[in-house]
């Protein structure tokens, strides 16, 4: 009954109701986008880090993996010591550097990953074969590198390590055969990357002597033992930065403080707009209907019923606007995500706006509470007006 009464009243002013719904829809779309932005990056980053199941990353002290050109020495010994730990399922080292591929008389710049196929967290095989642990002639290609170098599985390519401009010769040079096509998980769109065994890449860029790598990844047998393994590795290797996925996400969050704060500010503004809109509409509605409300009160309708009716009207506006807004929000989020994902150097797998049930329910819940609160003042005004005086004024 109350619901019908509220619906009838909203239908009485179609333009006003339509505009209010449109306003709430845009505000709730913005709120949803901001809720998605505030936590989406972290969830997306966490998902990326855990995509191959490795929970711990080791890098040179004071750095994050691949954040600088600093490297870790004697990685073979380090990886071997990690592998003997019964709590560790797998460990592997990776060296990221720049190499060149010779094509006719020109050189093409490539990102090279020196990997250990037994413990790698950096690629997913798409076609062909993975590298065998002793395949010193094999090469893995990402799609952009294959396209740019016009290479296919089975092709042979001459790769060169660091170039010395004074000696006009490369530090290392080797002929490799393309074994498989892979997706490099941490590459930005269009990045031309290749992979070969760690010793091969080390030799190409002159890092073989120190047995150096950029990072080491560790997969624990049980998630519950990750913190303990990280603490032990940290204690035994004080010159290494040992990060679990949780600490990396925290570091990531610190670097992207700007987006979190922006989402908080814009989310708050959209909530204020919603509250103002709903409360203004309801206040005006109540003002227009003082006589009607006074008559209802005079014939015995309780204050509680009047309050409930106004609140239901506010809730109906908020729910209608929110439903439309959530759809609109998903569309705008996709557009905004497309803009932010074009950040240079950002892994293609990272999303800023991640739509999930949690984001939708948080945004919807906040709006419903805000809409209900916005209706409180007009409802209180409607219920507390003087009955006799209002009726007398209306009669005269």
């Amino acid at each position: 009954m109350i619901g019908l009464w509220a619906a009838k009243n909203l239908r009485r002013h179609p333009l006003r109701t339509g505009l209010a719904l449109a306003g709430i829809a845009v505000a709730s779309a913005l709120l949803l986008d901001m809720v998605m932005l505030s936590g989406g990056m972290e969830r997306s980053f966490e998902r990326l880090l855990l995509s191959r199941g490795f929970q711990i990353r080791l890098s040179p002290k004071g750095t994050l993996p691949f954040d600088s050109e600093a490297t870790i020495g004697d990685v073979s010994a380090l990886v071997a010591s990690l592998r003997v730990d019964p709590r560790v399922a797998e460990a592997g080292a990776v060296l990221a550097t720049t190499i060149y591929a010779r094509r006719a008389d020109s050189l093409m710049t490539l990102i090279a990953y020196g990997i250990d196929p037994r413990g790698q967290a950096f690629y997913r095989l798409q076609s062909g074969n993975d590298l065998a642990p002793d395949d010193t002639l094999g090469l893995l290609l990402g799609a952009p590198a294959a396209t740019r170098a016009r290479l296919r599985i089975g092709d042979t390519v001459m790769v060169l390590g660091r170039l010395d401009p004074q000696a006009i010769r490369p530090v290392g040079e080797r002929k490799l055969v393309v074994r498989g096509m892979v997706q490099w998980l941490y590459d930005s769109p269009g990045e031309a990357s290749v992979g070969a065994l760690l010793p091969v890449v080390q030799a190409l860029v002159g890092q073989r002597r120190g047995d150096r790598a950029s990072a080491v990844v560790v997969r624990a047998r049980q998630d519950s033992s990750v913190d303990r393994i990280a603490a032990d590795v940290r204690r035994l290797n004080p010159r290494l930065e040992v990060n679990s996925v949780a600490t990396l996400v925290t570091q990531f969050r610190t670097r992207l403080t700007y987006f979190r704060q922006l989402s908080l500010i814009l989310g708050t503004i959209s909530l204020v707009v919603t509250v103002l809109l709903v409360s203004t509409i309801l206040t005006i509605t109540v003002h227009e209907r003082v006589a009607e409300i006074a008559t209802l009160r005079a014939i015995g309708v309780s204050r509680f019923s009047v309050v409930r009716q106004i609140l239901v009207e506010g809730a109906a506006l908020t729910i209608g606007g929110t439903i439309a807004g959530l759809g609109l929000g998903l569309i705008t989020a996709r557009y905004l995500d497309g803009i932010l994902r074009s950040f240079p150097g950002l892994p293609a797998a990272i999303s800023f706006f991640v739509a999930d049930t949690r984001s939708l329910s948080v945004a919807g819940g906040i709006l419903l509470v805000a809409g209900a609160l916005a209706g409180c003042f007009p409802a209180w005004r409607a219920a507390s007006g003087p009955i006799a005086e209002t009726l007398r004024m209306e009669a005269t």
Binding site: L15, K61, A70, T280, F343
Partner: protein, 275 residues
């Protein structure tokens, strides 16, 4: 003496290199000095990796690095060494990351870069414009994002404004009906309502500009302290103020006009509630 490990981004000083055999001197930024508890005259150990801190130097100066928005979020520490000292530290004598070339007056930088790249081996030449274009890519993305958010905000404000104007004008139904009964022309009523909308939009714009300046000052205060920088995060220029006020006035006028038009087209008896 305090001990700490900090990752540094090395800069270079090309002048006043110490003579052979003298202690190497470095300049550190105050933030790093504070983090490691360093003072002028302290001896520090440097290296290209945490497990090879074999290079010993004395802190000879403190310097304030130029604020760079591109590296702001990384919050790297900076230290400056003489070029030969840094080359020795890295174990790469006579090697540099990059160097600048000034072309003769009249020479085309693009042609020079192309000529250098034709014979380049182990390096690549870029013009200043290319370097600037590449390093400003991040800011272009942020700028596009801000523009998109601004469009959504404008749409939300426009709907909000239209709604408020409609309600405000509807509140004047009785006044409009009375004016129509006593012979006031529709055009006059429309003009009066439009003027009122304009006034509301103008006052709202003024308040908005004040709010923006306040929020901007607060933003700069907060982020400048957070990142220890003199960079300006929120900059409100006269152009932005003018653009915003014009937009707000236009939106207010359009919303007011639509609402007023609807009111003056309604018969006076309907406005009076007897239609």
């Amino acid at each position: 003496m305090s001990v700490g490990v900090a990752r540094i981004m090395a800069g270079l000083l090309f002048t006043n290199a110490p003579a052979h055999g003298q202690v190497q001197q470095v300049a550190v930024e105050p933030r790093l000095a504070q983090a490691l508890g360093l003072h002028l005259g302290d001896t520090i150990h440097l290296g290209s990796a945490p497990d090879s801190l074999r290079f010993t130097a004395v802190v000879a100066a403190l310097f304030t690095p130029k604020s760079d928005p591109a590296t702001l979020m990384r919050r790297d520490f900076q230290i400056r060494l003489h070029l030969p000292a840094l080359a020795t530290l890295l174990g790469q004598p006579d090697r540099v990351d990059r160097f600048g070339v000034v072309v003769r007056p009249g020479a085309n930088p693009d042609s020079v870069a192309t000529a250098l790249n034709r014979t380049a081996y182990g390096f690549r030449a870029f013009t200043s414009r290319e370097v600037a274009g590449g390093s400003s890519q991040t800011f272009r993305v942020v700028s596009r994002f801000h523009r998109a958010i601004a469009i959504i905000s404008i749409v939300a404000s426009a709907v909000f404004l239209l709604c408020i104007m409609l309600l405000k004008v509807e509140e004047r139904r009785i006044d409009a009906a009375v004016m129509r009964f006593i012979g006031v022309r529709r055009r006059t009523i429309f003009g009066a309502l439009l003027l009122e909308a304009c006034l509301v939009a103008l006052i709202g714009s003024g308040l908005g500009v004040g709010l923006a300046y306040g929020a901007g000052a607060l933003t700069n205060f907060y982020y400048q302290r957070l990142f220890h920088t003199s960079l300006i995060f929120s900059l409100i220029t006269p152009d932005i103020v003018l653009e915003s006020v014009v937009l707000a006035l236009t939106l207010g006028l359009v919303a007011g006009a639509l609402a007023a038009l609807r009111l003056v087209r309604t018969p006076p008896l309907t406005l009076w509630g007897r239609g």
